[in-house]
Symmetry: C2
Subunit: 191 residues, 2 copies
């Protein structure tokens, strides 16, 4: 088992790309080796088996999905209004959509999680932390709405991103924009 952490992260990043591009079917040690342009067998040396690779991918995606500090700082500026929530939602949808491979890989992992209890546990923990952090942030920053508001936005935005990434022709870009606006308008109380 090799320990070089940069290389491990690089392998995980390539594994995310493979997972998004070729699906769970295409995710093999060899495929990751090829994607990372490292010699055959390298990924085998870094991960004892496929299950370990999958759970570590889950952790890695969430590492990369966190907004960078600059974005967080910026989001703390401005008035605490519904319009501000709307702006945050556009930012969220675009940030997640921009990491397309990560989001698609995460969906693959969710499906894998129905078969792998350990992976399910990892994902549940991570996502619960994420939801809680969002609720916490929302309440503390004085934005309008309660915990339920945040959860409902979470539900709607997630599926909106799914539609955008998997069946882009179902809702066009304009309609996606309008749906974000409508979701905020109806779910978030006015002031």
């Amino acid at each position: 088992m090799r320990r070089n952490p940069e290389r491990r992260s690089a392998l995980l990043d390539c594994a995310i790309d493979v997972l998004a591009r070729d699906g769970a079917r295409g995710l093999t040690f060899r495929a990751v080796d090829v994607e990372a342009e490292v010699p055959t067998g390298t990924t085998s040396n870094y991960f004892p088996n496929r299950a370990a690779l999958l759970t570590q991918i889950g952790g890695r995606i969430y590492e990369r999905l966190q907004p960078d500090p600059a974005t967080i700082a910026k989001s703390l500026e401005g008035p605490r209004t519904r319009a501000r929530v709307e702006a945050l939602m556009y930012e969220l949808v675009d940030r997640v959509s921009a990491f397309r491979t990560g989001y698609l890989a995460l969906l693959e992992l969710r499906l894998e999680a129905t078969r792998r209890p350990d992976l399910r546990e990892v994902l549940t923990t991570r996502i619960r932390a994420d939801v809680d952090a969002n609720i916490d942030y929302h309440l503390k920053s004085g934005l309008p709405g309660d915990a339920t508001t945040v959860k409902l936005l979470f539900l709607a935005m997630n599926w909106l991103i799914v539609e955008r990434l998997t069946l882009p022709d179902l809702f066009g870009e304009d309609e996606i924009h309008d749906l974000v606006a409508a979701a905020v308008e109806r779910i978030v109380p006015n002031q």
Copy 2:
């Protein structure tokens, strides 16, 4: 190429189960043969290749997801209130969750669709028809809310089902129930 339609449907139903249980990775002609308890090679005889099998699975799932006429008739009874919409949402979430394998298989297909334009087209057409039918039904039946209401409910309910089926420990059953109620309360206008 064999034509017996009952057998074809039976094979597709088994393919749905395989897809939900073992994922895209496990969906092979042989696995379907085993699941359907038919001789090796049968599925090969009915579908020219994996791609055709996948697109036909997509069609089959949507056939089976439609509510039966009795359910539709029942849903036309009663007053046209927000409480009625809430009841319909509980029915929807439970009906879809009950066809667990179908929903999970559909998610697998969505991910496959990112790689297969023909599958993407099939799914887009089907789902658009489904969304339009729901909007149409909602408006014609005089339930409160407009097309956007229906779409927002569609977004929230879909992801709620995803959570329930893939990470059941994230939201408990009680919380899921509450979220359905909250979604209706906030998204659907009062009368």
